[in-house]
Assembly symmetry: C2
Homo-oligomer: 343 residues x 2
């Protein structure tokens, strides 16, 4: 466990933004009590909000600080669009609009700014989710790192759809839409100059048409959806296990992993279970619907490699994994900051 | 006029974030075409969006980069809450929810983080607009400046209310809810160590109950509302004049200005017309409703010093001012960056 927070002498550390235990602790000790309200208490990556005019909104917000700004398979602009769409889509909602704010560092070449903003506009257009309002600020040279983009997506949740991370029940199946680690390894290999750029590209993609197909196909049996971004598959499953109060058991051999990504992780000393993804989702569904859901996912271009990777068990919240050799091991929370500024 | 943008060799400059002409040009040349859509084209500080379930949302987004983080009368946390509420309130909307993202610099004392987050929570609670979703990221020491906060507010526009910056007509009256320059001078004097801190405090405040009273009182005659933040009263009036295609004429003697703020501006070599406000609004209304609207504003605690400061004329878009001595002068756009990182 990371040390308790020392409010008098402590300082913000990189691990407080890593998606693991230190971040969870900072959120639980400070942000959640300071802003406490029922929507925030839902504990999902988006808030689901009853409109006074009827219906429910899904609202989600992300700051993007990825470095480098442009990486194999994407850039901070397209990533911001995809990330916000996905967080809203994980509520089963139709994303409708995005708000975007930009913090620019004095001295950023206009050529880079233009490339990123145009890419962002194209990503929004391709996804059919327009950026409808925004803000730009500039800070002095050395007070930011090129540019940061915060995006907020607004969606509408279809009637009858109620997905939440606290909905998992023993017996449910866990599905994953495709291979893990691609985004994180693409960014890291580019950053480290490892030359994997041609082989490994980010999986950054908008998942809302995939989730819409899944919600339509299995309106009752689907319990929850979540995208395993910062902190990777392992940390996201820990969040879900804690939220639902269940134990999760994975089968290592069922988890899709590209050989190039596996090799790069070995070289970099990283565990792909903790590496961020930006175009993948975890689904939990009732066992009798698992095969049907899997088939629907595999028919979608972004779910061709989908797999049933595990199941939900009774027991203390946690994550275990049956290894390739048939043993079983604990999969811990991410401790510390494995891959800083990956999104 | 600032120079044209050189996409090949140009760089982001502080003036691109200043709220004046250079920023307007960057928005017009890059951001607006890249994201082009009808909501963005409205050109207001918030997007007004028709919900598929009926009714209209107002959505607004701001990045906050003020320095110092804590200043007389507020801090970056309460400022972020007030700023986002106000942008939505200027559509005549009821603000309902806020999404917030935090970019933290490694090494920021936890004591400061806690103070700001608690202040932000209190501001949200006092205004009755909860922070329902959020995100935190951490960047390395030297890659940010303490902390940045981006907030997005969501509101619902009451039926029949249609306020937009393009609604002004010749003959309309311009009203201002109170004195100008307080926020900007409070931040600057604190930054420069000028010792005005006890005399001048930020006017940072949520204006949604004031706007609600105004909309109720004058449902037909009210044309538009806008808060004169970055760029100050002058730049905001220029935006409105351009949007409506009208000329505006102010009376200098009618513009509320505290003597302390006036004195500090003289000392700092600043023009209060260009200084940011965070708890004031400009209203434009039909002449026959101006006195009634003024009375409503003065009955509200945040509008006690409200005044009719000018009128709308036919003519080329621009702003003129009848000075105290009876002459008339042009009030230009803000050129360059008068007060960087004021919000």
């Amino acid at each position: 466990m990371p040390p308790l927070l020392d409010w008098d002498h402590g300082r913000v550390e990189m691990s407080h933004g890593g998606g693991g235990r230190a971040m969870a602790r900072l959120l639980a000790a400070l942000f959640l009590p300071a802003f406490d309200n029922p929507a925030l208490r839902q504990g999902n990556d988006q808030a689901q909000l009853p409109l006074p005019t009827g219906g429910r909104l899904a609202l989600s917000c992300d700051a993007h600080v990825v470095t480098p700004l442009i990486f194999p398979g994407g850039d901070i602009g397209s990533l911001a669009i995809h990330g916000s769409i996905n967080d809203v889509a994980m509520a089963g909602a139709d994303p409708l609009w995005i708000a975007a704010s930009f913090i620019l560092e004095e001295g950023l070449p206009l050529s880079i700014l233009r490339r990123i903003v145009l890419s962002m506009g194209q990503a929004a257009k391709a996804a059919g989710v327009p950026v409808v309002t925004g803000d730009t600020k500039v800070v002095e040279r050395g007070k930011a790192d090129g540019m940061f983009i915060s995006t907020t997506a607004v969606g509408v949740v279809p009637e009858g759809v109620h997905l939440s991370g606290d909905g998992m029940r023993p017996g449910d199946r866990l599905l994953l839409s495709g291979s893990i680690g691609d985004h994180g390894v693409a960014v890291l290999s580019c950053r480290e100059g490892l030359g994997f750029e041609t082989a490994i590209v980010s999986d950054s993609a908008p998942l809302h048409t995939l989730t819409a197909a899944m919600v339509r196909a299995v309106p009752q049996g689907l319990r929850c959806l979540r995208d395993p971004t910062r902190g990777g598959l392992a940390s996201t499953l820990h969040e879900l296990a804690a939220q639902s109060g269940v134990a999760l058991r994975l089968r290592e051999e069922a988890i899709p992993l590209r050989p190039e990504v596996s090799g790069a992780c070995e070289l970099l000393g990283l565990d792909p279970l903790y590496i961020a993804n930006e175009g993948k989702l975890i689904a939990c569904c009732a066992p009798e619907h698992a095969e049907e859901l899997l088939a629907v996912m595999r028919r979608h271009p972004l779910g061709r490699q989908a797999a049933i990777i595990g199941e939900v068990l009774k027991g203390a919240p946690g994550v275990r994994m049956v290894t390739r050799t048939g043993g079983e091991r604990l999969v811990d929370w991410l401790t510390g900051e494995q891959t800083p500024r990956i999104c």
